[in-house]
């Protein structure tokens, strides 16, 4: 069970991420960062803000807009024993470099029978809610979690973002670190309440595979991640006014997946709602429901899935609002399983 971490100092999620990266870069000369617009610009979503000023261009490298070469170069540097952090600006751009991501980064450890390690962090921005249409708004949690060989991390708060980043950089395996744009605390993309949290100044790690029960409840289990943790919590507040007590679980990592926390909750509440900003078919919602069905079927009374219907993400505001699960949708789904 999670414990409240007391810290006076509040940070945005992007500041918390950067703080962990800076700490690791100071501690370990082998850690470096590269990506498009990560140096002077500080990352389009402020994911690398201020790092170039401290570490210079040699360790915070702007690269050509050519994902295959620089993500693949990250693989090569990692195999040589360095610890690159490589940013793919939008997860939607994965296609141009997927061969390096999937056929090299994710598979070389296995194909080498464990003799090759790829200690690399691939950071990437995910998520919609700002009308950027179908090539800049996806989350694709399911795509990356579906591919074996990579660990997949999705922070929802500043506290988690820092601890998970420390862990990601220190991990000897490739980690895909997916940060939701709407949670970063950008001036031009206001975050909901929640992601800006107290963050200790000192280093700390959050282990992978440990979900966080963000809100305890007895009547239904809401399993989610990323932005939708906050939407689920908002829904839970509304439900509480109606006397429905929802438990909200933040998965935090998809690989490894904390099935025990999910099952424990489902055994307690008997009702499961899974919320995901990714596409519905073959995605996180199906995975969680299947896990519950396999191991807690007797306790399961009702199940609902909320995810993007299987359409590309539309541009127009009312259309995007229609397809992205909102707090009201989550509340309705929880009421539906009562």
């Amino acid at each position: 069970m999670a414990q409240t971490q007391v810290s006076e100092r509040e940070l945005t999620m992007s500041r918390a991420m950067v703080e962990a990266v800076a700490h690791e870069m100071r501690e370990n000369e082998e850690v470096f960062l590269m990506g498009e617009d990560v140096a002077d610009y500080g990352g389009i979503f402020s994911s690398t803000d201020g790092l170039r000023e401290e570490f210079g261009y040699d360790r915070v490298m702007d690269v050509p807009i050519a994902e295959t070469s620089y993500i693949g170069a990250g693989v090569g540097a990692a195999q040589a024993g360095m610890r690159p952090i490589v940013e793919l600006m939008f997860v939607d751009f994965f296609g141009v470099a997927m061969d390096q991501i999937y056929n090299n980064m994710a598979k070389n450890t296995y194909m080498s029978g464990g003799s090759v390690s790829v200690p690399m962090v691939l950071t990437t921005a995910v998520g919609g809610t700002y009308n950027d249409a179908a090539q800049h708004s996806q989350t694709l949690y399911g795509t990356f979690a579906h591919l074996p060989g990579m660990k997949v991390v999705v922070p929802s708060t500043a506290y988690d973002a820092k601890g998970l980043m420390h862990n990601a950089i220190r991990d000897d395996d490739p980690v895909v670190y997916m940060f939701h744009k709407r949670l970063m605390g950008l001036g031009w993309m206001p975050a909901p309440d929640g992601p800006k949290t107290g963050v200790p100044e000192e280093e700390y790690t959050i282990p992978f595979g440990v979900a966080d029960v963000k809100r305890e409840g007895a009547d239904a289990t809401v399993v989610t991640l990323g932005l939708h943790v906050h939407r689920a919590l908002e829904a839970a507040e509304a439900l509480a006014e109606d006397g429905i007590d929802a438990e909200v679980i933040d998965l935090r990592t998809l690989t490894p997946l904390d099935t025990e926390t999910v099952l424990e909750s489902v055994r307690k509440t008997g009702r499961l709602v899974v919320v995901d900003e990714d596409y519905r078919s073959y995605g996180v919602t199906g995975e969680i429901v299947a896990t519950a069905a396999e191991d807690a079927l007797a306790d399961l009374e009702a199940v609902r899935r909320l995810a993007l219907p299987d359409v590309p993400i539309p541009y127009s505001r009312p259309l995007e609002n229609e397809v992205l699960p909102g707090a009201d949708d989550i509340a309705a789904a929880v009421r539906d399983v009562q």
Partner: protein, 339 residues
């Protein structure tokens, strides 16, 4: 070089024999002691040997789907490589990689079975060398069929803009599987592509190992001295089909005859004789190579197949254990927004 070349040639002859066992008379790719595809490099030996002779164990080489001659020249463990090709437990990758995916970290050798995709990791190894201020270099081998791939072109640019110690070796065997070179490029001299990236380019017009040696010496030296990357194209000859079982219906007989008539190994042997090397010495090198290859193959065949349970291992260096009963070092929390 001669030793590496005759070793590679004989090795592949022996692999071919082993590969065809159980696959005749009807060719079944999954039958026999060596499963899967097999891409042989007969006719490519001069490029592997002529380049890798300038490399040390701490230099990185990435090879494509046709890797054996390069692996041998780089000093990859012959027995464990062979065991890997036979899919055995003691293979380089414990039987998980196979002939297109050979990894030997002891000599910094890696493969990618996908066209041009070994280029970016080689660039990354060179980047690591530069960042660490070592004088090690990286060499990416690829075929001329890979020169239109983004992974190759992006890597040339990346290596050039950062002055990285990397050599791209294009093995031009005139055939991208069934596609003749003239149908994939108007640039006959592929090394000219280097000009577009403001990097050095060189071409060796025939597979004379001594010419490759000299061109590679300059390219590797340039990289090692901190003077940036080189694109080196070497004309080689594909004496076999693209893969074992390829009937090569697309290939004119004259082309096959022309390639069979040129043999870099015979040429090098003639040169060596001309330099006064005794035939007996050449024979001794060949004989030693054959002995080592035969031993490697016999050893590999005696190795056990992997335990099926091992298929579940090695996806990660630090396998995720899922949830333990222990509390995390610092338990998470606070982030919920509900407090």
């Amino acid at each position: 070089m001669y030793e590496d070349m005759v070793t590679a040639r004989y090795y592949e002859e022996r692999l071919q024999e082993e590969y065809l066992e159980g696959k005749q008379p009807a060719f079944d790719i999954s039958a026999g002691p060596i499963p899967g595809e097999l891409h042989l490099a007969a006719g490519h030996e001069a490029s592997g040997a002529g380049v890798c002779i300038h490399l040390r164990d701490d230099d990185t080489v990435t090879a494509p789907h046709r890797p054996h001659h390069v692996a041998i020249a780089k000093g990859v463990d012959l027995k464990r490589m062979t065991a890997e090709i036979f899919g055995r437990e003691t293979g380089l990758g414990k039987g998980k990689g196979g002939h297109m995916h050979l990894f030997d970290p002891d000599v910094n050798f890696a493969c990618s079975g996908i066209i041009a995709q070994g280029c970016p990791p080689a660039v990354g190894a060179a980047l690591a060398a530069k960042k660490r201020n070592t004088d090690s270099v990286a060499v990416a081998f690829l075929g001329e069929g890979a020169i239109d791939q983004g992974g190759f072109l992006e890597s040339l640019n990346f290596a050039s803009v950062h002055d990285l110690p990397v050599v791209f070796v294009v093995e031009d065997n005139d055939w991208a599987i069934s596609m003749p070179k003239e149908r994939i490029t108007d640039v006959e001299d592929g090394s000219r592509r280097a000009e577009g990236f403001d990097m050095h380019g060189a071409r060796v017009d025939h597979d004379d190992a001594c010419d490759v040696y000299e061109a590679a010496e300059e390219a590797v030296g340039r990289a090692r001295d901190g003077n940036g990357p080189t694109l080196l194209e070497v004309q080689v000859h594909r004496r076999m089909g693209h893969f074992m079982g390829d009937a090569e219906g697309y290939r004119p007989d004259a082309d096959v005859e022309r390639h069979q008539a040129r043999d870099s190994i015979e040429r090098l042997a003639a040169d060596l004789r001309g330099d006064g090397v005794d035939e007996a010495d050449l024979e001794a090198i060949r004989s030693d190579a054959e002995t080592r290859v035969d031993e490697a193959i016999e050893w590999a065949k005696e190795q056990p197949e992997p335990d099926p349970e091992a298929a579940h291992e090695d996806a990660f260096t630090n396998p995720p254990n899922g949830v333990t009963e222990e509390e995390p070092a610092i338990a998470a929390g606070d982030g919920g927004g509900d407090d």
